[in-house]
Every structure is written in structure tokens, then in C-alpha cells.
């Protein structure tokens, strides 16, 4: 069981990591990237089950990352979750076409993130 957190904010990654641990993800099962390009490199090197990605990031945005993943068949089973300040209906509609499991808008409560993680992590672990 491995998850990848993609966000350009170190404090936001730390918060998501803390909640993920509380949701039962082991510490060594959590990888981090600060943009979409870094995430792609990690996805190529490691077997990753769940992707938690921000949208607005430098170099390669979360939307660009998700579009790239949608073109690659090897990632068809990767569970995709967006965690973003951008909660516009236009962005949510775009996400619907990119095989996104859940869309969590910032600010979020730790309980809301834990709920999303329990939906995606528990089925994979079992």
C-alpha cells in the first residue's frame, strides 16, 4: 500500500501525511512530490496505489499530471484524489473526465480527508 502526495506547499504535504498516517497508511508507504513532473518520476519508479494531488503547482500542474496519466494505460488502476483550493464547477467538471475518485476542496477538515482516505485506502488494503 503506497500513496503519493503532490503539493507545492511543504506544510500542506505534512498535514496530509499526518492524516494519512492516522487513516492507517504506514509512514514508509507515503511518498511526496512538489509538482506534477516530480510526481511522474516517482510514479515511474514506484508501485503507487493512491495519488493525492493539488491543482495549482509550478512546472507541471495537477490537471496536466492527470491528463498525462489518463494517456498511459499502466496507471488505469491508480486511485486519483484532487485536494485543491480550486473548487470551481468548471474544474470539477474537468476532473470528472480524468478518472478522479474524489475532489476535496481546501480548506478541509482533517476528518474530511480521513473520510476520503478511508474510502480509498481500506479497499486497497483488504
Amino acid at each position: 500500500m503506497r500513496i503519493l502526495i503532490v503539493d507545492d506547499s511543504t506544510v500542506m504535504r505534512a498535514l496530509i501525511k499526518r492524516v494519512a498516517r492516522l487513516a492507517g497508511v504506514p509512514n514508509d508507504g507515503i511518498l511526496e512530490a512538489s509538482n506534477g513532473a516530480e510526481a511522474l518520476k516517482l510514479l515511474e519508479k514506484h508501485e503507487i496505489n493512491v495519488l493525492l494531488t493539488d491543482i495549482n503547482m509550478p512546472e507541471m500542474t495537477g490537471a496536466e499530471l492527470l491528463r498525462e496519466l489518463a494517456r498511459r494505460d499502466r496507471y488505469r488502476d491508480l486511485v486519483r484524489v484532487i485536494i485543491s483550493t480550486d473548487g470551481s464547477s468548471a474544474r470539477r467538471e474537468e476532473a470528472d473526465g480524468l478518472n478522479v475518485h474524489s475532489y476535496l476542496e481546501k480548506p478541509f477538515s482533517p476528518e474530511a480527508l480521513r473520510h476520503v482516505l478511508s474510502q480509498v485506502v481500506t479497499p486497497i488494503q483488504s
Binding site: 507545492d8 506547499s9 511543504t10 506544510v11 500542506m12 505534512a14 498535514l15 499526518r18 495549482n56 503547482m57 509550478p58 500542474t61 485543491s84 483550493t85 480550486d86 473548487g87 470551481s88 464547477s89 468548471a90 474544474r91 474537468e94 476542496e105 481546501k106 480548506p107 478541509f108 477538515s109
Partner: protein
Amino acid sequence: MCSAKLSPQFSPEAGVALMNALVEVGEQSFFAFIESCDETWFEELASTADQWMIATVTFTGEQGTGALSCLFPDDLVLDLFDAFTGRDPAEGPPDPREVDDLAGEFANMVCGLWLSRVMGSHTFSLGSPRAGRVPKPASTVPEGVERFLVVVNNRPMIVDLTVHAANRTSEAIEV
């Protein structure tokens, strides 16, 4: 009651949406109580703050461009940092880069949430937040800026907003 005087570029509804975004971000992510305040109360609180930080996020969208800046005293940013990260203040001061990052993330969340509310059916993108130290802010509001004075956990904070509507410089952003 919001103290900002809104220009024709900025509708009253957009001002209310900004205050709502501030309150929601404060409560959800920072366990902070945020309320608007008048200039007298603000000046009283600001007189006790010497070191200030600014965090700015720029945005572009189909309806226009702009920037949102949050100006807060250093001690308030540290309080928000502790609330967000769960850091124990007894651990010693946090890495200044992480404090900058936190200040930027605060501005980022406020701006993103506000834009999601006022531009719901239109796309927008946010620039990377920038943060740094500034002198105590002047009470004079720069031209073209909408200023909101708020109190966060009994500490002063300023939110400055600049909006340029796309090809319609005298029209309000629709909400």
C-alpha cells in the same frame, strides 16, 4: 460589518464572499476566529505589532486578473503555523521557510475559495504564493486596492485585493 469601501470594480457581494472565505479558512484549517473590524480597533491592535509579514497570490481567469495579499504580524503567523501543523511552541522556532510557506498557503486558500465562490462556472488559475517580511503597513490604502481589516484571534490582519476585470475595467466581477 466590513470596513472596506468597494469600488465599481468590486461588487458588494464579492466583498461578502471574501469575508466568508476568510472565516471558513480560519475555522476549518487554523481553528481561528476571524471577524471584521473598524479602523479604530485595528489601529489599537496594530500598535502592538512591530514585525509584519505579507503573503501574496496572483490569479488569472476568464473574467479577469488580480492579486490577493494578506498582511499579518509575525506572532499571528506563528500562532497560525502552530494551529495548522500541530507544532508545540516549546519545540523552538520553526524553519522560516516553512513559516513563509504557511503564510502563502493561508493566502492561497483564501484566494482559491473566494474565486471558487465568485467565479464558480468559470476557470481560473493561481500563481505560486510569495511571502516575506514588510514594515508595518501604512494606513493609506494604495490606489486600486480594496482593503479589508480583520481580527484573527484578537490580532490584526489586512487583506488587500486588486481586481482587473477582463476587457471591462469598470465592471464588477459577477457573482
